[in-house]
């Protein structure tokens, strides 16, 4: 009797054992991004949704202060810890790819031709050695933020469309006595977005392609390049429409604008939230002005992209791929736009008429087709090169020609360093 009654139990146990691997396939993956309240909430909601759709997968979401990104990664990797999926600034990708930290996206799930068809063109900056290594949920471009009341005071009924009009307005709106400014026509910020402005907007409008096709050579050190740089530095030294560090802090130019003490600034779409919350002025957004010999539109595009690290293997890799697919899907992007207010990376969504005609996001979206994402191999170093060039001209009176030549040499050195090690 005893033996017989035990049998079913035993059988049950066997069945359970056979089923166990399936149940054990519960995988946990870790996702890292920097802390930004609305983004953290949005990702948490998306994770809930993803976990509901994939009951076997649990996603742990870890965040840390924005300025601490590289230190966190740097410490975690040698310890063999860290995320399976990581949100990285696109300009850091080459370094992470080169060191073997990221895995290429599997082409069956993310076919390159599909990415190139569906995503904004700038996403190609995530392609190296013919493969894609990361994908974004949202993308950013630059635009001109302007103070409507001040421009009206200067006799303009809308934002300036050309650099000439921009300069005229800025000059008439600047208030200063001697070398001290009370109000800026333009919130100069070489370390903010202005170095991008020079690199991808002014150079190109002056007919200069800043880098060679393969990204290995600096090509902006030309007479036209000098003119473009000088056009910018003249704002500070000749027309005197603005000065750097007018307000202290890491985004003083933006705060001066919000306070009504800078008539215009150039900023990224990521600034919309703070300006919306903090501005005490009647403000608007416009596409960047055109000018230079080409009179063509140009813009700088950038993005934070999700990549899969080498930590993800086996079941974790499968789960990570699923998660990546999910957070770069149309529905996730739509949710992201609604909650975080960032422009979707998929072109189809960005062409949504409602978005294109939005008074604030419209100009950013309109810039997407002509936005260039610089292929940075050392984002911090390359930024410093152009910031220093501007400072040499504006603070030390170095000739723009000389400053640009030095900048090109320094940046070429950085590129050579990178490519020679591959």
């Amino acid at each position: 009797m005893l033996r017989i009654t035990r049998l079913p139990g035993l059988a049950l146990m066997l069945v359970a054992l056979a089923l166990l691997p399936a149940a054990a396939q519960q995988v946990t993956i870790t996702y890292w991004q920097y802390e930004y309240a609305t983004k953290v909430e949005a990702i948490n909601t998306l994770i809930d949704q993803f976990e509901a759709e994939n009951p076997n997968i649990r996603v742990v979401h870890e965040t840390f202060p924005y300025d601490a990104y590289n230190q966190r990664v740097a410490a975690s990797v040698p310890a063999g810890r860290g995320p399976d999926v990581i949100n990285l600034f696109y300009g850091w990708l080459p370094l992470y790819i080169d060191s073997g930290y990221l895995q290429p996206l599997p082409e069956d799930t993310f076919p390159p031709e599909e990415i190139e068809r569906d995503f904004a063109p700038m996403v190609r900056a995530a392609k190296m050695d013919g493969r894609y290594w990361a994908l974004p949920t949202a993308v950013r471009t630059l635009a001109l933020f302007y103070n409507k009341d001040l421009l009206a005071e200067a006799g303009l009924d809308g934002p300036p469309k050309t650099w000439d009009a921009f300069l005229q307005a800025a000059e008439s709106l600047t208030r200063r006595s001697g070398n001290r400014f009370q109000r800026l026509g333009f919130g100069v910020a070489p370390t903010g977005q202005d170095h991008h402005l020079i690199r991808e907007v002014l150079f190109r409008q002056w007919g200069v392609t800043p880098y060679s096709e393969d990204g290995r050579r600096v090509t902006y050190d030309t007479p036209a390049g000098t003119e473009a740089l000088e056009f910018y530095t003249d704002w500070i030294t000749k027309q005197k429409i603005g000065v750097a560090n007018f307000f202290p802090g890491d985004s003083g130019y933006r705060e001066a604008f919000m306070q009504g003490l800078a008539a215009m600034i150039i900023d990224g779409s990521f600034a919309v939230g703070s300006i919306r919350n903090g501005a005490r002025v009647n403000w608007g957004v416009a596409e960047l002005p055109v000018g230079g010999p080409t009179n063509e539109r140009s813009n700088f595009g950038s993005f934070w992209a999700h990549g899969i690290t080498r930590n993800a293997r086996g079941a974790k890799l499968d789960a990570s791929i699923k998660f990546l697919k999910f957070i770069t899907s149309e529905s996730a992007m739509r949710y992201w736009l609604d909650t975080v207010g960032e422009i979707p990376a998929r072109a189809a969504l960005a062409q949504d008429p409602a978005l294109a005609s939005d008074p604030v996001f419209g100009p950013f979206v309109a810039s997407l087709p002509y936005a260039h994402a610089t292929f940075f191999v050392d984002e911090a170093g390359q930024r410093q090169v152009l910031v220093d060039a501007v400072n040499e001209v504006t603070l030390q009176g170095v000739a723009p020609e000389t400053a640009l030549e030095r900048a090109a040499q320094r940046e070429q050195q950085i590129l050579d360093d990178f490519w020679s090690k591959r």
Partner: protein, 303 residues
Amino acid sequence: MGRRRFGIRLSLNARQALWAYVFLLVPMAFFLYIRIWPAFQAFDLSLREWNIVGEVRTYVGGANYERLAGDPRFARALLNTLRYTVVGVPAQIVLGLAIALLLERVTRYRGLLRAVYFLPYMTPIVAAAWVWQWLYSPNFGPLNGFLDAIGMPAQPFLDSPAQALYAVTAVVVWQNLGFVVVIFLAGLQSISRTYYEAARIDGAGARALFLHITLPLLNPSIVFAVVIGTIQYLQLFTQVVNLNFTDQGGPLDSTLTIVLYIYKVAFQRFQMGQAAAATVVLFAIILSVTLFQLKVLSRRIEY
């Protein structure tokens, strides 16, 4: 057990040494494992090429040191660090000593005044740096307002490659002053009143008291304040970073320090080998300066 076999005199010395080692056992284990071992790893790393994210650390011999020697930024960082130290350390020692001596003399509100002088040292640097940027602001700052009022031209301060380093030094002195004052106050409090009383009976004046009692007996505190102050300035980082957050070490590298250089190379460019080499150079500098200072400044205290 075995101790009894030695003579009494020997056992006294041996016992003292034995106790010393017992007291030092846990601390030495800690320092060796947590502080010195990682430092050795940095030395080892300085001979290798490693970009942190990668798994391989290739041995490259002196290549990192060569790269360092050929980097004008590193030379600039060395020079700047030297300037910070040469200006900042004497300034804070002299001011700190003066304030401590004055505080010693007052009887009323002494606690309050002491707390006030210590406040800057407590203030989180992020907040302090922001306020100082306002004070220094070429356009709105009260400092330029003051210069204006006395008929002097406005200055660019932090925005000028020529002035920025000294403007930063002033903030560091402002912040460290409280630290130095506390050290010297503790030093002054440790001097027994009896020395002064005895000297006064011998008819010594205030000047003689200061030169022959206060200064010699304060010597250990002075040595400490100088050595630690020098180490602090040679490792200057946080204030520099926060006073020009968007162009750290700028404008045009005019405020760049060695540690900021190390930080940038390590965490912005991920070149750990080169950062480690710079660390080794910094270590060598600090060690030689410290040993030199200890040798020159320390004297035997006589009672």
